[in-house]
């Protein structure tokens, strides 16, 4: 039974989760918005809150860019029985020429929904190799070990810094990629986490190294790629790097007599030329520590242009903003939470919350924020803010939120503004400013927005008042339970009285039963007509006494005489006389000593006596 209930609950929860699931949401980001010719960049289209696969284009046609689909990955997360999934579709972009390219919005069909990706901009610079005649700042390193048979030009490792921009603004986030490669024939034993050092800028923590096998200039390399971002702290000309790194590698030991053949189809990489095949037991590898160093990359940092809007707080990049407020119906002074989300690419760490475009009539509380990054280094993502505001008066809308940033691609400041949010505010204004009626326009507005004169508090009280010694609730105080003794005593008294009454009632009933029983016995004897006169009159008078006592509960039978019986039964004079004679005869026969009184009682006398007794009721 319990299992059924559990299963039912789970199914209900799952059904609710499915029914109430958020609609699918799509985002598209470039791993770098700036790149040089010959370098690749990734386009990642991520669809959240979906379990259905999407129909995506295999290739995206943009003149000057080669964009190819490279794969997809799925992520599922379960939190508090809420399952959310996201699918990421990856494309590799290889620029063919320099310039600024727009990757158009793509329509992706997910289940029954058609989702649109945002338009993305990719700036492609000239390849440094085109001018430097090589791979930019890539520096071959690691001299061939002595006796290895390799010549000095044959390097076994390299390091390079890839910086998409040569000039930036103060505070702008610049993505940097550090690549360290080792010839595939070497075996890497130890490589410390590299660091990028320099003056005038801050460097974010490097991402985990990504290991790939690449062919560069016809040579096969194992390349470790680290991503990070830097942010210039002041204007000036700086150098990024160089990055210096030490690594321990195992290098193939070659025989000095082995020379490259004039026609080598494997270009020296012939696996069968390995010494293992000529000297299998002579030792194959030897360990060497090599220094790897990249070239520094120059960076020109410019100050931000003048004319920043008032709401600019240092955000640089490209952003969009959404906002919503809840609850929509409040009382004056009640808090309203405005949730604002700023998404895009830039320096989220310097981003402050958007502000109300008009704060008159509102009280603000410090906002809280949360950042969800979409990449490894936190350049792109969504920063969510929660602003709590409370209206000081009746208002119909929450003013639009404003947020300003500097767009380095457009070289100008941009101010985003949300829509005004309609609300209903009930109740009276918290403190009615007396100047509101007299002042007009801007004067009144400034009075409202500025500091209001505090209303004065009421006077001191000179008497201390009733003294108490506890804040404890009444039912937790001993006095309360002690006071219950009074009704408890009353109840116990009532209970005792009730028991006594019951017992008394029982006694009376027992006495009546006993008297009734005796009376019945005597009447039976009297009716049998066998008794001697003395016994007969004695029993007859006793029956009268018992009947009188049964009628009057408070009379003892032995105390009843003829007068008492006549009074209790309201006998007429004739019956009263007969009653007296009955009692007199009984006393006479009982106390005169005249024997049993045989012959003194006729049958008429018996009958009359019996009739008198039975007439008593």
């Amino acid at each position: 039974m319990f299992r059924r209930i559990l299963l039912l609950g789970f199914l209900t929860t799952a059904a609710c989760e499915i029914g109430l699931a958020d609609p699918p949401r799509i985002t598209a980001v470039l791993t770098s918005s700036e790149v040089v010719v010959g370098e690749t960049v990734q386009l990642e289209i991520q669809i959240d809150n979906t379990r259905a696969s999407a129909i995506t284009p295999r290739a995206i046609d943009v003149p000057g860019l080669q964009i190819h689909y490279t794969g997809e990955s799925t992520q599922m997360t379960m939190r508090n029985l809420s399952v959310s999934s996201s699918i990421t579709y990856s494309y590799t972009i290889l620029p063919e020429k320099s310039g600024t390219f727009k990757i158009p919005s793509q329509t992706i069909r997910v289940g029954k929904d058609n989702l649109q990706t945002p338009e993305l901009t990719l700036r492609v610079g000239d390849s440094p190799r085109a001018t430097a005649g090589g791979r930019g700042n890539r520096t071959p390193s690691g001299s061939a070990p002595a006796g290895s048979g390799q010549n000095a030009d044959e390097k076994i490792a390299f390091a390079e810094l890839l910086v998409p921009k040569k000039s930036a603004y103060v505070g702008e986030i610049i993505p940097v990629v550090l690549r360290i490669g080792f010839k595939s024939r070497t075996q890497l034993r130890e490589l410390a986490v590299p660091q990028i050092n320099g003056q005038g800028y801050t460097v974010q923590k490097l991402s985990e190294g990504e290991k790939n096998l690449e062919t560069i200039d016809g040579q096969s390399y194992v390349v470790f790629t680290y991503k990070t971002a830097i942010s210039a702290a002041r204007p000036g000309d700086f150098q990024i790097g160089p990055v210096e790194e030490k690594a321990n590698v195992l290098v193939t030991r070659r025989s000095p007599g082995v020379r490259r053949r004039p026609f080598d189809p494997f270009n020296g990489e012939d696996p069968f030329s390995d010494p293992f095949f000529s000297m299998p037991f002579a030792g194959l590898m030897e360990q060497h520590e090599i220094n790897i160093k990249s070239d520094p990359v120059p960076l020109e940092v410019k100050p931000l242009p003048a004319g920043a809007p008032a709401s600019f707080s240092g955000a640089i990049g490209s952003f969009t903003m959404t906002a919503e407020a809840n609850p929509k119906r409040v009382q004056v002074g009640d808090p309203i939470t405005i949730k604002a989300a700023i998404a895009g690419r830039g320096n989220f760490d310097r981003m402050n919350a958007p502000e109300l475009s008009d704060e008159r009539g509102w009280h603000k509380y410090p906002p809280s924020s949360n950042f969800k990054q979409d990449d490894d280094v936190g350049i792109s993502g969504t920063k969510s803010f929660e602003l709590v505001v409370s209206p000081n008066e009746k208002l119909a809308t929450i003013p639009p939120l404003v947020f300003s940033y500097f767009d380095p691609a457009k070289d100008r400041y941009i101010t985003l503004q949300s829509d005004a949010m309609p609300i209903t505010v009930e109740g009276n204004a918290q403190s009615a400013p007396s100047v509101a009626g007299a002042a007009t326009g801007a004067a009144a507005a400034s009075n409202l927005a500025g500091t209001q004169k505090p209303q004065d508090i009421l006077h001191q009280i000179s008497e201390p008042g009733n003294i108490v010694d506890t804040f404890a609730p009444l039912y937790a105080r001993p006095g309360f339970w002690l006071a219950q003794l009074f009704p408890l005593t009353l109840v116990l008294g009532l209970l005792g009285w009730k028991v006594r009454n019951v017992r008394a009632s029982n006694r009376a009933a027992l006495r009546a039963a006993r008297l009734q029983h005796e009376k019945d016995e005597l009447l039976r004897k009297l009716r049998r007509n066998r008794l001697a006169p003395r016994d007969y009159f004695s029993d007859a008078s006793r029956v009268v006494q018992l009947k009188t006592a049964l009628k009057e509960n408070n009379i003892e039978p032995a105390t009843v005489d003829a007068e008492t019986a006549a009074r209790v039964f309201s006998l007429d004079p004739e019956q009263s006389e007969r009653m007296r004679r009955l009692f007199a005869k009984s006393d006479e026969l009982r106390y005169s000593g005249g024997g049993s009184g045989d012959g003194a009682l006729t049958s008429n006398g018996r009958r009359e006596a019996l009739e008198l007794i039975e007439s008593l009721s």
Binding site: Y365, S368, Q430, N466, L474
Partner: protein, 247 residues
């Protein structure tokens, strides 16, 4: 224990008797003097001295609604609005019909824009009486039902109704005591207080709490307290930043 010779015989007993009988009276006289002195200092504008003297009376354990009301006024004049609100709340806890404390509490809240806990629907419904009234009513109904049972047997219907009403009143008293005006209500007395999702200053902020804001302490763990916050939120706040209304 041997009685010192300085208090022989009857003198010792007289001293003990005097200590027993006269001590509370002497204490009360001292507190009255302190209360009057604090009022004088308040009127002279020496608000800090007034706070000290009112505080000394509070420390003695002889409390009154007027004492906390005056102390709240002293804190208000000293621009410590968080503690002013705390003491107005204490005055209202001792006397829920204290109009001066109620009025000044509103003014102090306006000054700081303190956040208030929204009462639950049940609390709103039961607001016509306090927990004390419900406790007394429960006791009366209980004993009345018992007496009815003794005097008039076989009145099952009336007895059931009486016991149900008793239980309802007891439950109402309990709900009021554990609600937003109950024994775990605390007031934020420090500035720049933020409730956080975890017991660390670096943890994400849940809600900024201006001085005088109401919270209900649910659990205390070292320097942090887990509290129910206005707007139906929960979070951890520094224990030293809040003070419970009930002493």
């Amino acid at each position: 224990m041997k009685v010192p010779a300085i208090f022989p015989g009857a003198a010792w007993r007289a001293f003990l008797f005097g200590l027993l009988v006269l001590s509370p009276a002497v204490n009360a006289a001292t507190n009255d003097d302190l209360f009057a002195k604090a009022n004088t200092e308040f009127n002279a504008g020496n608000f800090k001295a007034a706070i000290t003297d009112y505080g000394a009376v509070v420390q003695s354990g002889e409390w009154s609604a007027n004492l906390f009301y005056n102390l709240g006024n002293a804190y208000f004049r000293d621009s410590d609005f968080g503690r002013a609100i705390l003491n107005y709340e204490r005055a209202l806890q001792l006397d829920r019909n204290h109009p001066e404390a109620d009025a000044n509490l509103r003014i102090a809240r306006d000054q700081t824009h303190a956040l208030e806990l929204a009462p639950t629907p049940l609390e709103k419904y039961l607001n016509f009486a306090g927990a004390k009234s419900f406790a007394i009513l429960a006791a009366i109904l209980f004993w009345g039902t018992i007496i009815l049972l003794i005097l008039r047997r076989r009145k099952v219907l009336w007895m059931t109704i009486g016991l149900l009403l008793t239980a309802s009143c007891g439950l109402a008293a309990y709900k009021l005591e554990s609600g937003t005006r109950g024994q775990d209500v605390a007031i934020v007395v420090e500035g720049n207080v933020e409730a956080r999702v975890a017991t660390a200053d670096s943890a994400k902020s849940v809600l900024a709490l201006p001085p005088g804001s109401e919270v209900v302490i649910l659990q205390e763990r070292g320097d942090w307290s887990y509290a129910a916050l206005p707007n139906d939120l929960r979070g951890w706040i520094s224990t030293k930043a809040v003070e419970k209304v009930r002493l």
